[in-house]
Amino acid sequence: MKETPQEKKIYQDFRPGKLTKEGFLGSDTRHVHEIIEEDKRTLSQLGIEPETIADRMQYFIEEGKKGLESNVDLGDFTVRVNWFRGMLPCPFGEPNLHHKITAVVRNKALNQEITFTQLGVHLIGSHCFFMGHGNRFRLEPDDLVKFLKIN
């Protein structure tokens, strides 16, 4: 897919050392558009909208905030939110800013844990971007749907 000069400039912000140390693409060599398209296809097969996933993740962030960095028990899940000082912009170039929040959610039944950020929730909900493979915050859409018990 052809990139406009503006897109080229924007996608620089996905690279390591621009907005975050590791950037957003990990070791994935695909273009951002291709990563998004593949994840969209996965979600389409599951019949799930990215906004639904983002809403569920945001719920955990909001509940976790109440714990002031301690674990919060939510029945089938626990969540711990670390809220650091400062803000991060969206790498897609939108003017909105996002708090530096990291959430660690544990699904007790699966005995699994995932970690995501406030910016990551925005990227999923607004851009269907789950990060590139190899990125520390990459979440596989189908695994995430199961983990969050969205079905």
Partner: protein, 369 residues
């Protein structure tokens, strides 16, 4: 048919090439703003090549506006009043400006570019902010994720600041990070020791600056800092001071306590410090020393998730619990609050303080976003 395809392809390529040349020419001439005048407070004036942001232009003249994000437009600290010479408010400024500020022509200096003569107003005290060349004298682990770093000042070799203020630390390029970034950190060193600056820096996952400090910075490295900045400092009064902090929020509190002990200020001070487990607690010996040096000082650490091996017999629960239990026993309306830590902890503590009638104009903190 083939002939038509070749003609079409050549035509498209020619049009693209012409448009590209026009764009280059336009950028060369239309984006050349020439020399512009910058007038500050109707008093100081200098000429500069147009095209750069107001913040970087001022920095090049050694005039430093506060900034916690290093000019990325994410902290909103570098606001200044622009009297003339700038266009309408940009979408990147809107999230960080109130309606009132917009009316008063307050702008984010890191976002607006100088394209013509410009007149601005900045507070006189900002002229006290300097850029310092420093050398890393010491790096020490305080906890598993917080380091204490001492920067010896080389040029200038002295800093004058109010206990509680912060500096901007500028990273050196490392690994994949090719550009320098700057972030704000409160000073923990006493303000009467002017030859060095101590910072407590907590590792932020995937953070550019904190990863540099924790994994790349070495003793002996040369580093630049800019400061002092910030409105977090002791307000003179006889009222009790309620200090609340967590994690690296300890830093400005140590500086405040050093200043209070040094000046022998006679005030009641109660300091609530929150941590998860014993391994997240630090400076306990220093706090015990302050309790000896400052007659009215009490340190109240609380663990929210003490481990059995911690053998903890102090306060437990979120830091807001002992804070609330204490405020309901005293005449909180007369107290001053000093807060430093995560935004979540600050918000929760403010809510408790407001519940017990503490006045918002007597609660002090640097939100840093």
């Amino acid at each position: 048919m083939l002939y038509k395809i070749i003609i079409a392809t050549v035509s498209m390529a020619s049009i693209s090439a012409i448009l590209s040349i026009l764009l280059v020419i336009a950028e060369r001439y239309l984006a050349n703003y020439g020399e512009c005048n910058v007038t500050i407070n109707d008093d100081e004036e200098f000429r500069t090549q147009g095209g750069a942001t107001l913040l970087s232009t001022l920095n090049s003249q050694k005039i430093f506006l506060p900034s916690a994000c290093g000019g990325r437009g994410t902290c909103g600290y570098c606001k200044c009043k622009v009297l003339e010479g700038v266009g309408p408010i940009l979408p990147t400024e809107e999230p960080l400006l109130t309606a009132e500020e917009m009316k008063e022509n307050i702008r984010l200096s890191c976002q607006i570019k100088i394209k013509q003569d410009i007149k601005i107003e900045i507070p006189e005290e900002l002229f006290n902010i300097n850029e310092f060349r420093t050398n890393v004298a010491m790096i020490r682990d305080l906890t598993h994720d917080i380091k204490l770093v001492r920067f010896s000042l080389i040029e200038p070799n002295e800093i004058n600041f109010k206990a509680g203020q912060y500096v901007q630390l500028q990273t050196n390029p490392y690994a994949d990070v090719k550009e320098s970034v700057s972030r704000a950190y409160s000073m923990s060193s006493p303000n009467f020791e002017k030859s060095h600056v101590d910072l407590m820096i907590r590792l932020v996952p995937d953070g550019i600056c904190t990863t540099w400090v924790h994994e790349y910075l070495q003793e002996g490295d040369d580093v630049r800092i800019i400061g002092p900045m910030g409105d977090f400092y002791i307000r003179e009064s006889d009222s009790e001071m309620i200090l609340v902090a967590g994690g690296s929020g300890m830093a400005p509190m140590v500086s405040l306590l050093e200043d209070i002990a040094h000046r022998k200020i006679d005030r009641k001070i109660t300091y609530f410090f929150g941590a998860l487990t014993r391994k997240d607690l630090f400076y306990l010996d220093e706090m015990a020393e302050f309790e000896k040096k400052i007659p009215g000082f009490t340190f109240v650490p609380a663990l929210s998730e003490p481990e059995p091996e911690d053998e903890w017999d102090g306060e437990t629960g979120l830091i807001t619990k002992p804070l609330e239990e204490y405020l309901q026993k005293i005449d909180a309306i007369k107290c001053q609050g000093y807060l430093c830590g995560s935004p979540g902890m600050i918000n929760a503590s403010i809510n408790v303080m407001k519940k017990y009638q503490m006045k918002m104009d007597q609660i002090f903190y640097d939100p840093f976003g």
